[in-house]
Point group: C2
Chain length 523, copies 2
Amino acid sequence: MAKKQKVQRPKAQTPKGFRDYFGAEVAQRTDMLRTIAGVYHRYGFEALESSAVETVEALGKFLPDVDRPNEGVFAWQEEDEKGDGDWLALRYDLTAPLARVYAQHRNDLPTPYRRFAMGPVWRNEKPGPGRFRQFYQCDADTVGSGSVAADAEICAMLCDTLEAVGIERGDYVVRINNRKVLNGVLEAVFNWFNVIDLDHDDAETQRIKKEKLASDGSDGQAEISANILRTIDKYDKVGEQGVRELLMGGRKDSSGAFIDGVGLNRRQADLVIAFVTSKNDSNDETLTQLRYAIGESTVGEAGVDELQTMADLLAAGGYGPDRIVIDPSVVRGLGYYTGPVFEAELTFEIHDEKGRARSFGSVAGGGRYDDLVKRFTGQEVPATGISIGVDRLLAALHMKGRLTSDTTGPVVVTVMDRDRMADYQGIVSELRQAGIRSEVYLGNPKNFGNQLKYADQRNSPIAIIQGGDELAAGTLQIKDLILGAKIAQTATHEEWKDRPSQFEIPRADLVTRIKTLLDEQAK
Amino acid sequence: MAKKQKVQRPKAQTPKGFRDYFGAEVAQRTDMLRTIAGVYHRYGFEALESSAVETVEALGKFLPDVDRPNEGVFAWQEEDEKGDGDWLALRYDLTAPLARVYAQHRNDLPTPYRRFAMGPVWRNEKPGPGRFRQFYQCDADTVGSGSVAADAEICAMLCDTLEAVGIERGDYVVRINNRKVLNGVLEAVFNWFNVIDLDHDDAETQRIKKEKLASDGSDGQAEISANILRTIDKYDKVGEQGVRELLMGGRKDSSGAFIDGVGLNRRQADLVIAFVTSKNDSNDETLTQLRYAIGESTVGEAGVDELQTMADLLAAGGYGPDRIVIDPSVVRGLGYYTGPVFEAELTFEIHDEKGRARSFGSVAGGGRYDDLVKRFTGQEVPATGISIGVDRLLAALHMKGRLTSDTTGPVVVTVMDRDRMADYQGIVSELRQAGIRSEVYLGNPKNFGNQLKYADQRNSPIAIIQGGDELAAGTLQIKDLILGAKIAQTATHEEWKDRPSQFEIPRADLVTRIKTLLDEQAK
């Protein structure tokens, strides 16, 4: 005999940030994906399933919120003889693969190409509580249409989808915005007659400002733009007056420290403030205020026009401001959006871990991205789409108690005599052929109590028992486990006297009696 | 302006060995997975979805046909500060993750634990024609039951599954074998009274053989065993007499060269030959011959007994030798099988690339593996299961013309006046609310011919047209594209005179008329 060695056993653990999904969780997601696919399909979208693995080159650097290439993805190098194989990676979303697919197959695909895709994506991020490195997305995109009608349609479909999976009207809102609007506001801010304060700047100041504007070019403007954007983000915290002060000369914060301002004049600040405060219950009023905020900017005008057209198209289709809201605060993290952006928010309240009420928040987002396919082909291909975070949506439905998938276990046929396994298999065969979920207990049958414990653990509705006596009599014992559990809970057995939880039936009546009992239980 | 640089564009290509699936292909697979899940569920199995990524440590070295660790998987090292992060890999099958899941969650799971899992797996192999590095598997396993009834049930379920997805009875056979039988035959071969030929070996030869047998130990036997297995594999090529010669003294091959034999005596060769030729139309006769081939081997007897019990249980459930065949040639590549092994083969003929007829072959396989969970826990946990190769099964159904998923495109509403987009969206809104798949043409509407070409490319059944005249008259033009295509194919238009492919309907009748037309087309 060899000397006893210490056995190094592998750890039975998912890698950090990954998890397993069991039974009903899987069924609920499958059901939801099927429902969503049904809506997408009805809207004329075609399924696409690309592989989980792409070349790093094809995926590009579009990972949300991450500037560095390859950061945030799971990547590895292909082995080849020379050691310079391609770098491969798991897809981090479903949009980058779509751009690759469209560029690769564009001659065989219709234009516009409407496709939907659903499946896991992977992010190589630091895992945290409730933050997983593999999760499901469910996307629909229209590639090859520059029409804002395509964007509007996606928003309408998003409403239909949310309602189809069980989010009631009133419990969600689709907020829309347009990247061009904010760009237009910034353009207006840098327009010379806004930079120069004709009422207050003297001739010399005007000359200096004009020169500075010309020499600064885009670099100087980029820095000011970034400062403006940072200031806008503080609106929720410091309010309109606070933002105005920060945009202009600066202000004292709550600790008494002085925060430098961006240095805009009153006219410039007015535009930004108009933008920040534009959101209104009426989409029309929001649009009016945005038109003021963009001044003479052409790109800004295009953005507001697009928002107007989207809102009009949607309203004409019955998607009014109770569901579609123009909201200039919708930003969406991705740098690749070029026009309309949208976000679906669930508005019902939940309580966070500290018991504070807050709205559930975003479950889907998307927008127009006209440059993704261009990376491959050099030609600009307009595209727009939406991505639904399936796991978040499932969590929301779970909180609202609207997940109704059946968690009932199988009918369990117990084993009283292990030599009569064929008989017991015959019983489940009959039941299964009648479409009834059922199984023979396949553990060690010695301890009958373990068999009933198993049935309990499986959430079985019925156990079937046939010992020697029943065999001789041509009968079966039927144990109504749901009634049994109820009896166990009630203090008095009186009320259950007429419905005993165990009874005997003729073997020949198996299927009809079990069907009847299951129907009764389901009531 | 910066100097014009040469733009390096990424290649729009899937990595080698990966592919994209479009439209009907995706729908067909989704449908099939749903059907299979339905059967598995009816049998009492619960869904499990583990992540695509596992630690290399947890996956182990069980990759089929590959002896070297990490060979054949896509693996990478986790980044951490010390540079010694875990190695992670994409799962190469669904069984290794199951073993990890069961070991990790065993206190919360029922025993036996019946689970099914479906999803892609990845193999880092050299891609070839029709050989992909990502493909779907669809598994069902029973963990924690050592009963051969569990194996039998899996085989019955496999039959039901194949029939549920559209493989007719008679077009498939589930072949079963047991690893213990061949082990038993080898044990019998090395049994001293088989090694020693009592009729022919003289006393001195007997003494030498006994000594050699004692000193050889398992190493010598392992080499002879390997030679026997190699010889068995030649049965299809050289036939019974050829195998007999190769097992004993050797033989001349077709080129005249002499091939050395394994060196067995007649009695030993008899056992192996009995095993090799045991397959029979009657499972009973196969079992009788196997009982001879295993001699006095205890493990062999256990194997034959298990096969017998499986066949009996299955026959009692109606799964007779027309569907379940004991076939000792079923080997299954995986080293981890410990008892029963099974394989589903489609028996109908297809023609290979050279036009030769051959049977379609294996679409599913599995068996009993009692040691996989032990790797983690140290405790042996009996388990058995099946894996269906979904993509191969889809290919088979495709060849048989039994894939019936709907490839009809959406009703296309054309755009005659781009300022009336809201009207056109209103038309599809109505249709979609009635459950009719439809869309507005979202490409550039300038060229009307392109719109009809698009409808054609989408395989649309109907195009709807509303120009200024129809708007004024409160009507719509309906183009029956399926009838139109038929007319285009027929030489004479006479027979279609009464059913024009384009006609006008009142706008108010939209939904009812389109529904009627779609129903007619479906006939």
